[in-house]
Amino acid sequence: MSTLSLRQAWQQRWRRWLDKRIPARTEQVLNHRNIFIFPTGFGAFYLLVTVLLFTIGLNYQNNSVYAFCFFLVAVFVAAIMPTYQNLQGFRCRVSSSSTTIAGGPCDVKLYVSAAGVDRFQLIFRHESEVALTLYSGESKPVHLGMLYAQPGVFPLPLVKLASVYPLGFFRAWTWLSLEHLIYVAPKPKQYSEIEQLISARGDRSSAFRQDDDELELREYRHGDSARDIYWRKAAAGGQLLSKARVLQHSSEAPQGLLDYRLSQAPSHALKLADLCYWVLRCEHLGQPYGLMLPDTVIAMDCGDVQKNRCLQALAEAL
């Protein structure tokens, strides 16, 4: 058995143990089950100093030095509790997913809060480090920057949350095992023209384009820009309506689902890159778009929600 496989076996075993001990959830609350504590290098050095003091007390037969030495040892032991308390009761919540594009920045936002005492120098470590101080009762977002070069769907890796406050003798840490998927869409690259991509039998009858007179306004959907809301109606106490997207349509622009099969790109991955390019392009132009993938169809729409839905579908299709 090679050392590599031995290491992998060990890692798997470790991961299984950790999964059992800290099951993945969208919200983690830190308690004695998932907080680990161990002395730091400084803690070890400090203990060494107390050992030296002990030998001095011994060789000089000096009780004052003994007493001082034991006091320092007791301080070391007493530091365990506040180190633990700095993490205990700490809450960390995350949304169920986030979307990004391969090679682009991925920002996973954790919402952290803590009751009781102030928390100092909490360090979130994954690829990069984020330090945070959280006062009692406060709630804050933490941005974890990550970088994915390859498209696909990835679970959020374990994020190590550590703190050595107050004395630095001990490090208390936990692995935040959060249920969160990161959809990484392929890097956009144009291969086809829009006219080529839209299928001949393109479904032009999306729900909100049936009646020409009411084209200008449609029901507000989550993700529409606040700019586009028809505020006059809203102020009058009516329902929220969005206007701009529909108004901006150029009647000449082709409308319809972007069809995977019609892409001119040479391979599966590049076809997805092609579609990704047009999804972003349409979104940029404010033009409704939909997707037709081998096993998914996404109806025509526009806005951030639609964009995320499409990018996630592209990431999943890979």
Partner: protein
Amino acid sequence: MRALDARQARMTLGLISLSVAVQLLGLPVSFMVVSGMLLLAGWLHWLWYWPVPKGLRFLGLMAFGVMIFAQFGNFFGLEPMVALFVGSLLLKLLEVRTQRDVYLLVALSLFGLATPLLFNPELWWFLAILALAVLHVSLLAILHGQRSSRRALRGAAAILWRALPLAALLFFIVPRLPPMWAVPMASHQSLTGLSDSLRLGAMDSLSRDASLAFSARFDDPDNVPSPGQRYWRSLMLVDYDGDHWMAADVSHLRGKKPSASQTSDWDFSLLMSPSGQRWVPVLGSAMEWPNAMEYLADGTVRARHPIHARQLIPLSADQSIVNVPLSTPWWNRLTALPPGLHPQTRAYARSLGNQYPGDEVLTEILKQFNEENFSYTLQPSPLVGDKVDSFMFDTKQGYCEHYAVAFAVMARELGYPTRIATGYLGGEESRVDPSTLMVYQYDAHAWVEVWLSDQGWVRFDPTAWINPSRIESPPELRPEWQGANLPVLEELAWLLRGQLWLSQLRHATEWMNLNWMQFMAGFDGSGQAAFLKRWLGKVDVSTMLMLLGVFIAPGWLWYSRGWWWPKKTDVAKKYRQLLAQFRLPVHLTPQQLAQQLSVRFPQQSELIEHECSVLQSYWYTQVAVEMKHVESALRKLKDLKQ
């Protein structure tokens, strides 16, 4: 590695400076000067961004090396090590950049703070060092992000509070082992108190040094010597060369303790301040002494090694001066006077000897001192020419040494074997604990012991004839201490000493300090065994294990809470089990359950109705239902049978 912000750097600098200052107190002034300069460089560097010149660190290191060599001659004493340590701490201070550097500084500084404890066993020192350690702990909290200094201190105090019980436990139970290797001792202890020779006029004035020479705690509080009995004999000066009175070499005095038939008058334990010398003050003659001491034929004891650390010395002593028959050589030695010196004094002694036959001549000499216009002063006029004659016939003023020397010369001239005893006269009763006498350096005294053929050694204290208040009054009330020309600060200190409430405070604090030092000095291997025996009874491994078990077992039982632990009834679970037993859906309320069961067990419907109503009110009403009723209801419903 994390860099420091300005506030953290400032606090680090301040605290380490404080710690260095405390450690420097035991070192010579030259080190303080160089350290002060290095500290200044550190402050300039940190607060005003002064770039530290490249050579400064090297220069500092060299300066410390040179000073250590010049001052101590080697690098292996205790002080050279402390000096080296302080030097390295200071040089490190000049290059603090990151958190890691502060870690190193804090750990080293805490280590260095222990060194003053080697020199200073007083309670105040220990408390001060402890306070400094707590400041170090709060510095660490500030270093790790705590913004508020007040909260950092409070956090440190909380840690201290949690740490104290464990520290105390460790202190009492960690076994006291013998030293592993020989260590260099402190060398610079200022030699206070008595020296082993006496020379008239060597000092212009007697010290009013109010530092503690030793304290003595008497085992029997009802048997404490009266003020007139408090003659603490330390050294016997037997050889006189016309200028110096010198103690005999220890080898000449080795002797056996006379028969131990008589019981001792006083049992007490001495807590000696470090003197750097080997004498030990004894009331009268020593009867019992520790192994680290040796007995001398004149009734005193001598430590086998100079006393450099505070020691607790248990002693028994007898009021009378021990009498060993004098051999001829000793007789000659004790009556010898250098020929031709002090002609006037000796002629005067002879004339008195002719006038008063027998031993009463000695008393007569003392009376002459009293009648002939002699005066007691701490600052006598300087003596010129033949010192003894000059004192006897010109100045006629002096303190204990003058009178003792003059008396001894006259006694020897008359043929009496005579020796000068030095030691302490006095002892202030602690107001908190009257069985403790505190003896200060200003209590140092000299008197004379004369061999009378029919009585043996007899104590003659000429000073007591001149100045009886020397024995009876507290120092601040003695006339000779008034009006003496003293530095303002010292005068003020003595003035304050006379204030009643201040003196009570002094007694209380000194009593605490004494207790602390006595406890710390006495808590060695045997002290620990005695202590543990007192508190734990018969100490052996099985007792310790049993005690441990008594403390740990309940905690462990509670923590593991196995099947034997009485559980709080999970009513909801039991209820679900009940429903399952009767194959009923889980959502039934107790009322609905009662209906269902009444159908199945019509003859017991009354009981069912009642028990279900208990459950109903347990869950759905504000009325408090006792747990035992709920449990019995569940049990009865479970046991329902056709």
